[in-house]
Amino acid sequence: MTDRPITELPDDELVRRPFDELVVALQQIVQRLEAGSAGLEESIELYKHGLRLHAACETRLREAELQITELGRRGVAGAEPEAASAPGEAPRD
């Protein structure tokens, strides 16, 4: 996770961002464009960012697969604390 604005991320990092973040960024760009306060050059840059975000969203949608984690079982709990710990450590749950 970086503090860089999402629009400055390269495409391969962009598609790993949370989907809602991409959509919100796209919505913000549309709003800024529609507000008309940006200059022409800035507007063109915004539009390019918007296209990239749109493409990233579509990629995410196309490749999305429901990810399932089950709590209280060994080795399957991606979000469980023990999933990140060294193998052989006793599960806590």
Partner: protein, 429 residues
Amino acid sequence: MADQPTLWDRRPDEPDPPGPAPRPTPRILRVTDLNRRVRSLLDADAVLADVWVEGEISQPSFPPSGHCFFTLKDANSQLRAACFREELARAVVRPAHGMNVIVHGRVRAYEPQGVYQLYVESITPAGAGDLHARYEALRAELTAAGLFDDGRKRPIPRWPRRIGLVTSPVGAVWRDVTNVLRRRYPLVELVLSPTVVQGTTAAPAIVRALQRLYAQDELDTIILARGGGSLEDLWSFNDERVVRAVAEAPVPIIVGVGHESDVTLADFAADLRAPTPSAAAELAVPDGGQLPAILSRLRDRAGAALLGRAAERRRFVDAERRALAGLAPDIDAARQRTADLLDRGSRTLTDRLERRRLQLAATADALRTLSPMATLERGYAVARAVDGRILHDAAEATVGERLHVILSRGTVETRVERVRADAEEELLS
């Protein structure tokens, strides 16, 4: 046909046909007649006309007519039952599969199908009095404690990233929920916290499963779900421990238990109540089917805004150019103006000269009128002495003096012969 005697029409006192041989020809009944006879037998039974039956509802169906048909059964036997729309509307509970009920009604035959069934007049849950009283008491207590306040309800996140699910790891609910999420919004991560949802151990197990999820970071929404069942099956969702655990959820929680008609206290404590587990899953995520269209609209709006921006810039530049053009000196116009001025100037000058010329001519005329020559033209003459004096009086002349008499044309040199004082008489003579 009705006049013909049938097997059933034989009077009890009528002797049996003689036999054993020859065997009598049996009377053949029509199906309709048989069913009618069974029906009248059943209708004549006072017990069957007003009966209370306890049993478990199985496979209720709700056709569009608004009536309900189900099977009432116990361990050994089953009975068809029909509940018409009017009675169904009055029923305390909606018939559900597995529900233990006490049904009041009458048994009759339905001739067209040759079946007998229980025509339901009322349905009450078996043991409902006790359960219902406990339910209402707890509901009142928890309402007073503020657990069900509308002000506590939180909005369900619109774009969840992680959703927690508390349900049984086996069975239809787990499958239904994952199917809905897979279909609608597979971008989400589903965290299952499995639990038993039935029996006396269910309530504490559900609480533990909820608390396992509450310990998770970055969950956006929690779903607590269970499929349909009898009132007793769903009872753990009316357990105070479960209701309080639902109310304590650190993130918005959706409860979807049983069927649409089943409302548990856990439903009241939830941020959002879903009629069924599948509905809970649908309420938890946006409709992914709409997303491509939403995204396309956003992209189109960006494009339109950019084009609008460009058009606006072009209009601005055009306006600037026109404004600049307006500031530049207009040589042609200036030339025109100068020419106009010159024209007007020269015209004025010419007019003035002309006027002067006319005045001059008039003056010249006047001058001419006043000139001595004009007088001479009219026949007058001027007498001038040699020294140049012009004579006005005869006395100024001397006899013998030479005078020049100037006429209109030419001059006569004369010598004065005599001087006379009178002039007029001479002129008029």
